[in-house]
C-alpha cells in the first residue's frame, strides 16, 4: 500500500501555484489569465470577511436580498419549466409553485428597486464605479423584460390582455416585426432561456464589479475634501488609493 505524505502533496500544489512564475511558462496564456484574474480579484477581495466601518446600514442588505430572491425565482421557474407550461393550470401543486414564482418576482423587484434608489442616493458610481452602476441599471431593464415575457407566457386572461395591449407599444417602435408579443411560443422561449441567461450574466458581472471596486465610500465630510489637490490622472480617481 502506498502512503502519500501530505507534506509532499502540499509541496506539489505549491509548485503548481508558482507555475506562472517559471520562466518557461511566462508566455503561457492559461498561466497569464490565472495570474491576471487572481491579481485583479484575489480570494480575500472576492469574499472579504471585513468591510469598511461605514458599511453599517440596512440599505446594504437589499443587494443581497435581490440576489437571494433571484435564486428563488430561478428555482421555482426551473420547476415550472421541468413540468411544462400547462402543469400549473391543472394541478394545485403547480398553482402553488406558480404562486411561489410570482411572489419571488415581486420580492425580487421590490428589493432591486430599493437597492437601486439606495445606490442612487449614495452616488455609488463615484470612484471608478460607473460600470457597476450601468450593469445594475441594465440588469433592472432586462429583468423587466424577463418579467414581462413571463406575464405573456401565462396562457390565461392576463396574458391575453397584456399581449393585445402591449403589442401597440412594441409595434410602434418597429420591434414588433421581430418581437411578437402575441406569439406564445416566441415569448416563452425568451422568458425561460434568453432573458434569464442575460439577467444571470449581468447580475454576475455586476457582483464581480462590486467586489472589484469595493463598496463606495461616503461623501467627504467637512474638511475632508481635497479641493484642488492633484489626483492621479486615471479615470474617476480614488484619491489616496
Amino acid at each position: 500500500m502506498t502512503v502519500t505524505d501530505p507534506k509532499t502533496v502540499r509541496a506539489d500544489q505549491a509548485d503548481l501555484d508558482k507555475a506562472a512564475d517559471r520562466p518557461e511558462d511566462a508566455g503561457q496564456w492559461t498561466a497569464k489569465l490565472r495570474t491576471t484574474a487572481v491579481e485583479a480579484l484575489p480570494p480575500q477581495k472576492l469574499l472579504p470577511d471585513r468591510q469598511p466601518a461605514y458599511v453599517a446600514s440596512w440599505i446594504y442588505v437589499f443587494g443581497v436580498v435581490t440576489v437571494s430572491a433571484l435564486l428563488v425565482v430561478i428555482a421555482t421557474g426551473l420547476v415550472l419549466a421541468i413540468m411544462g407550461p400547462n402543469w400549473w393550470h391543472v394541478s394545485s401543486t403547480g398553482l402553488f409553485v406558480n404562486s411561489l414564482h410570482l411572489w419571488s418576482v415581486e420580492v425580487f423587484f421590490f428589493a432591486m428597486v430599493v437597492h437601486l434608489w439606495g445606490k442612487f442616493f449614495m452616488a455609488a458610481w463615484r470612484g471608478r464605479r460607473k460600470v457597476t452602476w450601468i450593469t445594475g441599471v441594465v440588469s433592472f431593464l432586462v429583468s423587466v423584460g424577463a418579467a414581462f415575457t413571463g406575464y405573456l407566457s401565462q396562457q390565461n386572461f392576463d396574458s391575453q390582455w397584456i399581449s393585445t395591449q402591449a403589442k401597440d407599444g412594441i409595434n410602434s417602435t418597429g420591434a414588433g416585426a421581430i418581437f411578437n408579443v402575441t406569439n406564445f411560443g416566441q415569448m416563452i422561449m425568451w422568458h425561460i432561456t434568453l432573458l434569464p441567461l442575460c439577467v444571470l450574466a449581468l447580475v454576475g458581472v455586476h457582483v464581480v464589479m462590486v467586489r472589484l471596486r469595493g463598496v463606495v465610500p461616503p461623501f467627504p465630510a467637512k474638511g475632508e475634501v481635497p479641493g484642488d489637490d492633484p489626483a492621479p490622472a486615471t479615470a474617476d480617481a480614488e484619491v489616496g488609493a
Partner: protein
Amino acid sequence: MSTGDEIRKPRTFKVDRDVVAWHGRYAPYDLAKEFLIALVVVVILVVGLAVLFGSPDDKPVTVRSWSTADAVDFAQTAATELDGTSGTATYGPPYNVNGTAQSIGPISPAKWMGVHHPIDTAQDFVVGPLSTLPDNPQVTAALNSYKSASATQQAAWTAAYEKAVANATFTHGRLVVPRGNYGPVATLIAEETSMARSGALDGALLSSRQFYGTDYTKPLLFIADGQYLANLADNQHLSGDQWGMMNETGSYPGQAWLWLYTLWYQVPPMNSSSNGDLQVFAIMIVLTLLLAILPFIPGLRSIPRWTRLYRLIWRQHYREVEHGGGTAPVPTG
C-alpha cells in the same frame, strides 16, 4: 512616444465623481452568513405570500366562449373583419399596409420595418376558416357568390350588413338580423358564428399554418377586435385609463415596476394622440438612457449630494468623523 517618466496631467477632485480613499477602520462583515439569512428570510416571505394570496389564473377567452357569451358582438366583429374595417384590418405594420404607422415627425420605425406578420382579415378570419367546413353546400355557394362579386358589390353588402347587425339578436341558437340586401354576407357571418360557437373556429385560426402551433397572433387579434375582451378587462380594472397592463386580474400587485411607463398614458397628449404609444416609448427610452449614463451627467449626478439623504445612510460614519470619533478616514492627495 510614451515613457514611464511621462508627467501625468493632474485632475481636479470632483465630489460627485471621485472618492476619498478609505483609510479608516474595517469591521468584521460575514457576507456568507448575511446571504444565507437573506435567502431563508426571502423563502419564508415568499412561501407566506404564496400561501396567503396564491396567484391569479383566470381562464382565457376563446373564440368559442366569446361567441357563446356575446354572439352579437362576435358577429359584428366578424363583419368588420370581412369588410376590412376592424382594428386589425386597418392596423398597418407589422400586420398589413392598410393603416398609418405611428410616427414622431419623420421618425416612423414601424413603417421602416414594414409588414412581418401579414394578416388579411377577410381571408384569414372569415373566408379561409369557412372554406375548411366540409359538406356544407350553402356555405360553399355563399363563399363563391361573395368571391365572384365586384369589390363595390362586396362593400355594399358588408356595409348594409354591418349597419343591420348592430340591431341583431341571438335567439334559439340563431343570429337574427333585420331583413335587408346583404347578399351572401348574412349566410357567411351566421355560419361563422355557428362555427365559432362550436369551437371549430379556434382550431381553424390556430392551425392554419402547422399542426404544432404556438403562435396565437390571429385568434388573439380577432378576439381583441371585439368589445367582449375589453369589457371583461374593464371590469378587472385593466383598461388603459385604469393604469392598464401594469395591473393583473384580482387584487394582485402586477407589474408595479411599469408604473412610470403606464403613467405617460394617463397624461396629455399621449392619452389621446394617435401616436401615443411611440411618444410614450420615446420618453421612456430617453429617461432610461439618462438613468444608465447618469454618472456622466453634471447636475443630475449631483442630486444625491444635494438631497443629503446619504447622511441618513452613513449617519454613524459622519457622527464619528464630525464629532471627534477616532476612526475618521485620512484623505490623501
